[in-house]
Structures are given as structure tokens and as C-alpha cells.
């Protein structure tokens, strides 16, 4: 189904005939502004037919070549200019400066947050650590106790035999 605009164009061009023309003319009665458009279109068509006389080209190929060269030159110039504008034009350097400043700030932030300012050796000189303990008797329990406050590591053994106070240890 053609739209009203398509049928209107066909009507202006005189391509509607028969039933299609009759139906469209009835429909046209509902669009009074279309009559004015029709009159303008007719007037323009007549004017073009009467006045528009294409000049006779003496050397068609030469003319086409010139046009082609101008188009090519224009395209190349436009591309070069747009490229220059992209690189050095308005907004590039400020963006570069802002980007650089942002990168530096980000790098500074990461440096401060990720890389510790002092070595762990300096912060905590304490190193003793019990990696693993295997009691040789099931009645003995070995636990590692680390006191961060006192920097003390203790291998805490439970279940050992009691030694009377008179036992000679020396």
C-alpha cells in the first residue's frame, strides 16, 4: 500500500490513472493544502522544462577529469586538515595535559597505597616463628602462641610429665 506522499508524488507526475486517480482525488478533498502544493509543483515543473537547458560540453572527458581531480584534491586537503586538527587542534593539548596530570596522580596514589614506606624489618624486628610442631606422644599437645604486643613466640607444650621440685636440672 502506497503512502499518501507517494501517491501525491505520482499524481503530480501524472502517473495516476483510472480508479486509483479517482480514489486519490476523493482523498485529496480532505487535504486542501495539497492543492497549493500541487500548483507550486506544476509551476516549478513548467519553469524547469522551459528554462533549464543543459550547456553543451565541447570536451566531456576533460571536464570530468577536472572535476575528478578537484574532488580528489579537496578530499586529500580535507583529510590532512582534519588529521592536523585531530592531533594539534583545539582540545588535544589540554586533554593531553589533563590526562598526564591524572596519570601522575593515579601513579602517586598507587605508589603510596601499594608500596610500603618502610620495610617490615624496620617496623617489626621480631622474626621468630614456629612453622610446625609434631609432638612425639599423643598425650602431648603443642600450640604456638604469639603475642604481638610483646613480640614473643612461645611453643606451648601441654601434657608433659610433671617434674618434682627436687629434680636436679643443673
Amino acid at each position: 500500500m502506497k503512502t499518501f506522499e507517494e501517491r501525491f508524488t505520482a499524481w503530480v507526475d501524472g502517473q495516476l490513472t483510472g480508479t486509483e486517480l479517482a480514489v486519490f482525488e476523493r482523498e485529496l478533498a480532505q487535504h486542501p493544502e495539497a492543492a497549493a502544493d500541487y500548483a507550486d509543483a506544476q509551476k516549478l515543473g513548467a519553469l524547469l522544462r522551459a528554462k533549464a537547458i543543459a550547456p553543451q560540453l565541447t570536451n566531456v572527458d576533460f571536464f570530468n577529469l577536472q572535476i575528478e581531480q578537484r574532488i580528489k584534491a579537496g578530499n586529500a586537503h580535507g583529510a590532512a586538515q582534519s588529521k592536523r586538527e585531530k592531533v594539534w587542534g583545539f582540545g588535544f593539548l589540554p586533554r593531553l595535559a589533563l590526562g598526564g596530570a591524572f596519570c601522575l596522580l593515579a601513579a602517586f596514589g598507587l605508589f603510596q597505597s601499594i608500596i610500603p614506606s618502610g620495610s617490615p624489618v624496620e617496623k617489626s624486628p621480631y622474626f621468630a616463628q614456629v612453622v610446625e610442631a609434631w609432638p612425639s606422644d599423643p598425650s602431648i599437645y603443642a600450640t604456638t602462641v604469639y603475642s604481638a604486643e610483646d613480640n614473643v613466640t612461645v611453643l606451648w607444650l601441654d601434657g608433659l610429665d610433671y617434674l618434682p621440685g627436687n629434680t636436679l636440672l643443673q
Partner: protein, 171 residues
């Protein structure tokens, strides 16, 4: 436009200088002789062990000089107020050495040492320790020790007190 370019260059130069200064400071710390020199002389290291008898008494004696540094920490951790030395033993220690520490004839330790190579270890040792009471092995343990970082072992109850074994790397 030129001003912006100059600002960007100045920022870049400042950032580079900052990073260079920081990395230089870190390198200085890593090269600090106090940290690294000791690791160069492992042959002079010793392992000191002590059997300490801890008690709670009404009139506590001052700790012996060998325990002066440890006494406050021992008090807080074990809750006793008097510490006496039952015996000490010192052996040389180095990479891949084995020795027997006899701070007491009844409580002694068998020690196998490997020197820890990481910078954080500060020339410390990874020790394979076996604590014995007479001929009976009580516990086998792997521990890391470095100078200034003693390891305490809570041994058997002794009379109304407690036996504590202290191990310390000396340089």
C-alpha cells in the same frame, strides 16, 4: 597552549623525581649494613639456649643478667614473677649444621639449622628442633629464628613452677 604543555612537563618531571627519590630510599634501606652485613658472616653465629625455672614467690629475686632482656616479656606471657637459670648452652651455628644443645642434662635439644636466604629473614635460620627430656623425645618442630627474636618453649611443670626453654640466635 604552551602553558598547559609546560604544566604537563613540570608534573611529569616532578613525578619522575619523586619515584626516583623513593626507589633510591628503598635501595638505601636494602643496602643498610645493619640489615645485610650480618648475613654475610654466618660463621660467627651462635645459638644460645637456656633452661629457666619460673616461679611465683612472695619476694622475687632479680633475674640473672642473661635473662634481663626477656624477664618482662616472660612475666607477661607466663604470669610468673621470678625467673632463675637452671643452665645454659651455646653452640656455633651455620648453614646446614647439626648440634646438640645441653642447657640441662635432663632437658636438651637436637638442632639442625639452615640459613634463611630471604631478606626478611635478616640472616636468620630455619631450625629443625627436637626437644628431649632424658632419652624421650617430646616434640619435633620447625622454627624460624633470627638474632633479637628469641623463641620460648613452655616445658614441663616443675615443683610449684614451670620450666621454660629459651632459644636465641646470637651474632
Amino acid at each position: 597552549m604552551r602553558r598547559l604543555l609546560l604544566i604537563a612537563l613540570a608534573l611529569a618531571a616532578a613525578g619522575t623525581a619523586f619515584v626516583y627519590a623513593q626507589s633510591g630510599a628503598m635501595q638505601t634501606r636494602l643496602d643498610n649494613p645493619a640489615v645485610s652485613q650480618s648475613a654475610k658472616r654466618p660463621g660467627q653465629d651462635r645459638i644460645w639456649s637456656a633452661v629457666v625455672i619460673a616461679r611465683n614467690v612472695d619476694k622475687p629475686k632479680d633475674p640473672p643478667p642473661e635473662l634481663k632482656d626477656f624477664a618482662p616479656r616472660l612475666k607477661r606471657v607466663f604470669g610468673y614473677n621470678q625467673f632463675e637459670l637452671a643452665g645454659t648452652a651455646t653452640n656455633p651455628i651455620g648453614d646446614r649444621t647439626e648440634s646438640r644443645l645441653l642447657p640441662s642434662p635432663r632437658l636438651w635439644l637436637s638442632v639442625k639449622a639452615r640459613q634463611a636466604m630471604s631478606k626478611e629473614a635478616r640472616g636468620g635460620y630455619l631450625l629443625s628442633l627436637q626437644l628431649h627430656q632424658d632419652q624421650r623425645q617430646l616434640v619435633d618442630t620447625e622454627a624460624k629464628l633470627a638474632p633479637g627474636s628469641p623463641l620460648f618453649m613452655r616445658g614441663p611443670a616443675y615443683g610449684d613452677g614451670q620450666v621454660i626453654i629459651v632459644l636465641q640466635i646470637q651474632r
